[in-house]
């Protein structure tokens, strides 16, 4: 099978474009998705190809964007709704959590909600406190919703397609920092990354690094540096926070007996907390060191570049954590 080198933004765009060509029930809605060509250019060119019926610019009405998409999905359409950034999904939280995630259960299977909510996520570039969230773990708290967070263009492509084809609601976040990052993407319109399947992005026998989205990038950078001194890290990319596939983490941990969790999100009640809890419950006998978490600092993100960077995780913080568990 051939492949192309594409930035993640373009991989996402192609996935969405091909799915819309394949199935007329799929439409996109959100702020600036049409004539503005998408805030992050993921829907560039869509309005010309599909017109206003299937590419729907909305008012700045997050509550209704999510809620209307839920209703349309219940009625049989397959909406792909866009939150310009995940920060604004807080305004839509109720529709996503109380309705998208629960409607199937509450009515005992009478309705399905084949919905994807895409949102750009992440902090950095001095976006400030209100515009700097990475709250995927919060959404992953709730059963009934899937949460997908790709780290590479190929995963972005296959995960978005799988999300669109699935009959369940998916919150799909796209790391802003990774949009322009290129990588190989398979030339296969039916390339699907199974929902709830983790991926080992690098093999190693000394430490297990567990991450998702941008955290994978920091983990891989750290692993490259550490390899120069003979420390081999295994990097497990969870890809989906729900369903959570920890099998590859346990497999790896049985070999390394050490684990560092890397994430862009906040430390309290976090992704890292969950991984650490499950590892000690399920692989306690293999544990040779405390599980370390590399996260953002436990503060709202400030504007000033100097201290903003201090608050963020990075490669060096991962390297330091690895040294602490070795």
């Amino acid at each position: 099978m051939g492949q192309k080198n594409l930035p993640m933004r373009e991989a996402l765009r192609r996935a969405l474009l091909e799915e819309m060509r394949r199935d007329e029930k799929i439409f996109v809605m959100g702020e600036e998705v049409g004539y503005w060509q998408g805030t992050h250019r993921v829907t560039r060119g869509f309005i010309d190809e599909f017109g206003e019926k299937r590419v729907r610019d909305t008012p700045i009405s997050e509550m209704a964007i999510a809620g209307v998409a839920v209703g349309a999905a219940m009625a049989g359409l397959r909406p792909v709704a866009e939150m310009m950034t995940i920060n604004f999904a807080f305004l839509a939280f109720d529709a996503i959590i109380n309705h998208a995630a629960k409607i199937r259960y509450m009515f005992d299977g009478q309705f399905t909600v084949p919905l994807v909510i895409r949102a750009a996520s992440g902090w950095g570039d001095q976006a400030t406190a209100s515009h700097s969230h990475t709250p995927e773990p919060i959404f992953a708290h709730f059963p009934g919703l899937y949460v997908g967070c790709p780290a590479t263009p190929a995963d972005a492509y296959g995960m978005l397609k799988a999300s669109i084809r699935d009959d369940n609601p998916v919150l799909f976040t796209e790391s802003i920092a990774l949009y322009s990052r290129p990588g190989p993407v398979p030339d296969d319109e039916d390339y699907l990354v199974p929902i709830g399947k983790s991926d080992v992005k690098r093999e190693g026998q000394h430490v297990t690094l567990v991450a998702y989205a941008r955290g994978v990038d920091w983990a891989l950078q750290a692993a490259n540096d550490l390899a120069k001194e003979g420390i081999e890290c295994e990097v497990v990319d969870l890809r989906w926070l729900r369903p959570l596939d920890l099998e590859p983490v346990y497999e790896s941990f049985k070999k390394t007996n050490r684990c560092v969790v890397v994430e862009e999100s906040l430390p309290h009640f976090s992704f890292g907390s969950e991984i650490a809890a499950q590892l000690q419950e399920n692989a306690f006998d293999y544990m040779d060191a405390p599980i370390k978490r590399v996260t953002a600092a436990d503060v709202p993100l400030p504007f000033a570049k100097e201290i903003e960077l201090m608050a963020l995780p990075n490669k060096d913080k991962v390297i330091q954590a690895v040294r602490e568990v070795l």
Binding site: I60, F88, M310
Partner: protein
Amino acid sequence: MPNKETLLEWYRQMTLIRQFEEKCHALYWDKRITGVYMHLYSGHEAIGVGAVAALREDDHAITSYRDHGIALARGIDPKPLMAEMMGKKTGISGGKGGSMHLASREHNFWGGYAIVAGHLPLAAGIALESRYNDKDAVVLCLLGDGASNNGYFHEALNMSAIWDLPVIWLIENNGYGMGTAVHRVSGQPELHKKAVAYGMKDLGCVDGQQVLEVYEAVSEAVAYARERGPVMLEAVTYRYSGHGVSDRQYNTRLEDELRDWLENKDPNKLFCQYLQSKYKGIDEQLHQLDLAMHALVEEAVEYAESQPAPTYDDLFTNVYA
């Protein structure tokens, strides 16, 4: 009718805002101001200056992220404002807020807010305190056309109406929310009419490029709010530099429209012409004000660049009281 001294003060403020914004723009492209978000007030000057002029000092103002002009009109020193743009410790928000989050408690300027329409309920809450404690201060809440389609708008307006809260809801209709024209996303494109749905006083629509018109309309709104309760007013305007500084494509797309506003409806130009025709021989005085504001902005930049950045310890201060 405001006297000559007052009018000159307005001219001074409008000039200061324009110079400040143009400087911010230049500094941004020079990478002396960094970050992804900065939304300039150029084109809106007559609204900020005319509306704030209608307030007493103990009245309150609150706005969106497009907040530089309101901060300056409230009389905040440009130095700590420019320092905030550069993320300095002596910035008005300690370098933590940036361009979108300017505030000065001392000036009863309750801040710029980056979540569209998120500040509307806050405005109602500040007004609630005024009523609760038998004060007669009012709240001027500026919001964009796009914000009027958000759920926050509905809930905040309705609550202000049922409790007769003293808020002036002033919509700065600059024609667009990012790239989306008003009529494409608002079922009622005459935005001030939305007041009717809440049983709220609708004061209609004014030309947002005429500082005197804005001043008069907002004065009437303030008087109404102080006595009775919430009131809505719309002011029509235009933004000159795209949605935010990083939005470079917008102005190239709508070049003709932009040129028309710049040439024929620029608030600063119109007000300058008004003053020149009203007061013969005022030109030299206006020119001196232009120069003085230029110097003031340069001083602010010099000050800001000389200031220290926040340090690691600052990262953890003021998370809690």
